[in-house]
């Protein structure tokens, strides 16, 4: 497969997943605001820091209130990680590989982007329609990944799509968990109850509430951290996603699991073992926010390893396969 094509598949997939997760994170924050009786202190600045470049926002010279933040994170073309920009980038990548993906995938991405553009032209998302809007974004992204699953052959292209989707999801689940870090819980008698409500909202934003209940029952912070980071089977947990990244990577290279031939295989092997053998109290000892920070850094390192191995522009020193081709 062409390196450029693999690169586009990977980023198309990453950006669709990113759009979905931006919608999730905005949605959880909106929910948290509604459940926060402590005086309605609105905390949008952390969200901007988590999801985007705060300099880009500062450049607008507006205050980080809910309306400005929502517009910035959802529709701002100057914010490369706004939902509109993500889907625009995904679509541009898809356009350059239309002959590789199925027409159904292209049409879903294209028509959703066109709808979103119409919505963006109206300015912003009103409070009364915001839940429906972010649900629609999630739905459209799910539809895209469902169509992908139902129409793509399990070939190299598919594994690059999986790679992009899962690495992005691992990163974003860790960020969803991090949102909670910024939310003040106040003090006093209500604080504990409120904290539970916040944690439940975090779970919901990862579509994890129901599955969590089945596994752990009571809402407990350590249970939730464990579920979203270390669970082997929940499809949005960081461990599950990174296991998937690893397996896709090995499908592409043909390297047997348990060994490695390139830096990202090595790093992923270590990271997956770490997640499999870490206990939640160790994370709490280190501090959740610090742990998540270092996890995100490692995930980024895996990403650059993938870039170096597959996409980077190289000069020809003939590979084994091409020498073979030349001889025949």
């Amino acid at each position: 497969m062409l390196s450029r094509v693999a690169d586009s598949l990977y980023w198309m997939s990453r950006y669709v997943e990113r759009a979905e997760n931006v919608a999730r994170i905005i949605d959880v924050n909106l929910n948290l605001m509604l459940d926060n009786p402590v005086g309605g202190e609105q905390r949008w600045q952390p969200l901007i820091e988590t999801l985007a470049d705060h300099k880009a926002f500062a450049g607008h010279g507006t205050v980080a209130d809910s309306e400005n933040t929502i517009r910035f994170l959802s529709f701002d073309p100057g914010n490369g990680n706004s939902i509109l920009s993500c889907l625009g980038t995904a679509r541009e990548n898809a356009r350059s590989i239309r002959e590789i993906i199925s027409s159904e995938m292209w049409e879903q991405l294209n028509s959703f982007y066109l709808r979103l553009q119409d919505q963006a032209a109206q300015g912003t998302v009103g409070q009364e329609t915001s839940q429906a809007f972010y649900a629609e974004v999630k739905q459209a992204c799910h539809l895209f990944s469902g169509i992908t699953g139902a129409t793509m052959t399990r070939n190299e292209a598919w594994y690059f799509i999986e790679l992009g989707r899962l690495i992005e999801r691992a990163d974003k689940t860790s960020r969803i968990l991090d949102v909670k870090y910024y939310i003040p819980t106040g003090s006093g008698a209500d604080a504990a109850g409120l904290d539970d409500i916040h944690w439940a909202a975090v779970l919901r934003s990862a579509s994890a509430f129901e599955m969590y209940r089945k596994r752990h029952g009571r809402i407990r912070p350590d249970g939730i951290i464990e579920f979203l980071l270390l669970d082997a089977d929940f499809p949005r947990s960081v461990r599950h996603c990174l296991d998937g990244v690893r397996s896709s990577l090995h499908h592409i290279t043909g390297t047997p699991l348990g060994s490695f031939r390139n830096p990202s295989e090595k790093l992923l092997g270590q990271l997956c073992s770490d997640l499999a053998f870490t206990q939640v109290d160790e994370i709490e000892d280190e501090g959740l926010h610090e742990y998540l920070d270092s996890l995100q850094t490692k995930i980024n390192q895996v990403g650059s390893g993938i870039y170096d191995t597959f996409f980077a522009f190289r000069t020809p020193t003939l590979s084994r396969r091409s020498r073979y081709n030349e001889a025949h």
Binding site: R95, N110, S111, L114, L318, R321, S322
Partner: protein, 527 residues
């Protein structure tokens, strides 16, 4: 909408004869259109436009800042060509392509045609399409012009003429195929009744041709389509053709020349490329051979090509034969190489570099169409009867300053086809671009791109200047007056309404699988 108030005007109409009745080949369609409930035609037109937008069948307009993506306007009323007429056109096109190829080969080798004085040497020497880099070159299988899209027009008398030979990188064939797919989902009843020749095998023929020109005749050649990238106005087509042929779509930066071969950069190293269907102009193909500032091409490609280690379609240097000044000599070219009269004549052409012609042109600018010899896309053109005094005077200056760069032709009353307008069907001028593949044999796709000037009275069909497209139906040769099958003829319009618009439905040309008589029962959930 119907034809009762249709004004045929003083033109040749592709659908309605001078008596006001449809031509025999168009009867079935005319009846179908008249039988539609009011508003239905408009509704289907809207459905077609939506389907094109959703499918992203769009092109980019460079000069338009506001939203670069547009769909090419598509008009539902097709142009119909009878089998007998097509048969003649097919022979004429094959003749022309055969002669053009011999012409190109001669120009880059012995130049007999110049020595024999058939064409003045300076016409060739001054053509920007003539590439010194191609002199002495022997393309695989001796073929230069693998893909051609010849522009044909019909004049007032009903005669079909060649307007232009597009022998470099003709585009538009993807619209032929996509328009047909749309039409089959919008008018299934007509397709089941009329014997319309299919166009869907174009990609397969294209791939066959490309594999045929593999340099060393290898059995499993790697074919790629080379595109300037997704900002090119024809990007959809490049991607579409690669997809339909099942080959890689590459950009210049995906390819690299090394040790005498062309390789593409893949996730598992470098793989050799044998055949390149390039959709990049000569100028940008190889910065070492042509324009050195090109970032679209592949440095060193021409050396590999000259060494015979890669095939290019079309060969570089073909532009000289579709130079508009060279065009004027093509009937003589056909006569010279084949000893035959051109089956499809040229539009009479005045060559401004010839003194007598120039004098005539300057005296009759208000009646003529003047074209720059090396421009395409409808740019650099004067349509005398529609031009302002200033425009005419501007062209007078241009022609005098650089006569070699201009030709002139009489303003043709291009034929018209009924077209869906605001409230009614109105005649709009059209041309026709058939596509010809030169490989093992010369294949003419039965159909082509009918381009239509959507602005009332306009003669400019280019997509960049308010043109749209129509499907082109070539009927099977033996039968010019299609007899509707009973099923199609008896189908009430309401059933037509229910027929879904399937932008990416299954191919309808294939025979359906026979039904199994014994069915395996579906398993049920036990109670």
């Amino acid at each position: 909408m119907n034809f009762s108030r249709y004004e045929r005007g003083d033109f040749y109409d592709e659908m309605i004869s001078s008596s006001g009745e449809p031509h025999p080949a168009s009867r079935l369609l005319a009846r179908e259109i008249e039988g539609l409930p009011p508003g239905e035609l408009k509704m289907r037109q809207k459905a077609a436009e939506r389907a094109l937008m959703e499918a992203g069948i769009t092109f980019n307009v460079y000069s338009d800042n506001r939203g670069v993506e547009k769909t090419l306007p598509f008009d539902l009323i097709p142009r119909i060509v009878s089998g007998t007429e097509w048969n003649r056109l097919e022979k004429g096109l094959q003749q022309r392509i055969l002669a053009l190829n011999l012409f190109l080969d001669d120009l880059y080798h012995d130049q007999k045609i110049l020595k024999d004085g058939i064409i003045p040497r300076e016409v060739i020497a001054s053509s920007t399409g003539f590439r010194q880099q191609c002199v002495g070159l022997k393309p695989p299988q001796g073929i230069w012009c693998h893909v051609t899209g010849t522009d044909l027009v019909r004049d007032q008398t009903g005669q079909i003429l060649v307007l232009e030979d597009n022998i470099r990188c003709p585009s538009g064939v993807s619209y032929v195929i996509e328009n047909r797919r749309l039409m089959k989902s919008l008018f299934p009843e007509v397709f089941s009744g009329a014997r319309i020749q299919p166009v869907s095998n174009y990609a397969a023929r294209l791939r066959d041709m490309l594999e045929f020109i593999t340099p060393d005749g290898g059995t499993q050649p790697r074919v790629v389509v080379l595109t300037p990238g997704r900002y090119n106005s024809a990007y959809f087509e490049h991607s579409f053709l690669a997809q339909q042929m099942g080959v890689e779509l590459v950009e210049g930066s995906d390819l690299v020349v090394h040790e005498g071969f062309v390789w593409m950069r893949t996730t598992s190293g470098f793989e050799r490329v044998d055949v390149i269907y390039r959709r990049i102009d000569d100028d940008f193909l190889d910065p070492r051979a042509f324009r050195s500032d090109s970032t679209l091409g592949v440095p060193g490609l021409m050396e590999v090509y000259k060494a015979g280690n890669v095939a290019l379609a079309n060969a570089p240097g073909t532009g000289v034969a579709d130079d508009k000044a060279v065009y004027a000599y093509i009937p003589r070219v056909i006569q010279y190489y084949l000893g035959e009269e051109a089956i499809i004549p040229n539009v009479p052409t005045y060559i401004c570099s010839e003194e007598q012609d120039q004098r005539y042109v300057l005296e009759h600018l208000g009646e003529l169409v003047v074209k720059a010899a090396n421009e395409s896309g409808g740019y650099g053109m004067l349509i005398g009867p529609h031009a302002s005094r200033e425009q005419i005077e501007e062209f007078r200056r241009l022609v005098i300053a650089n006569p070699r760069n201009y030709i002139a032709q009489p303003t043709l009353s291009l034929s018209r086809v009924p077209t869906i307008c605001e409230t009614n069907l109105e005649g709009r001028h059209v041309d026709l671009r058939p596509y010809i593949l030169y490989g093992r044999d010369i294949f003419v796709l039965p159909g082509g791109l009918t381009r239509v000037a959507l602005r009332k009275g306009s003669l400019v069909v280019n997509s960049s200047q308010g043109g749209g497209t129509k499907d082109t139906w070539v009927l099977a040769e033996t039968d010019d007056s299609p007899v509707p099958s009973t099923a199609a003829g008896g189908r009430p319009p309401s059933m037509v309404l229910a027929s879904p618009l399937i932008p990416h439905g299954p191919p309808l040309d294939d025979e359906p699988e026979p039904l199994k008589t014994q069915r395996t029962p579906h398993p049920k959930k036990p109670c």
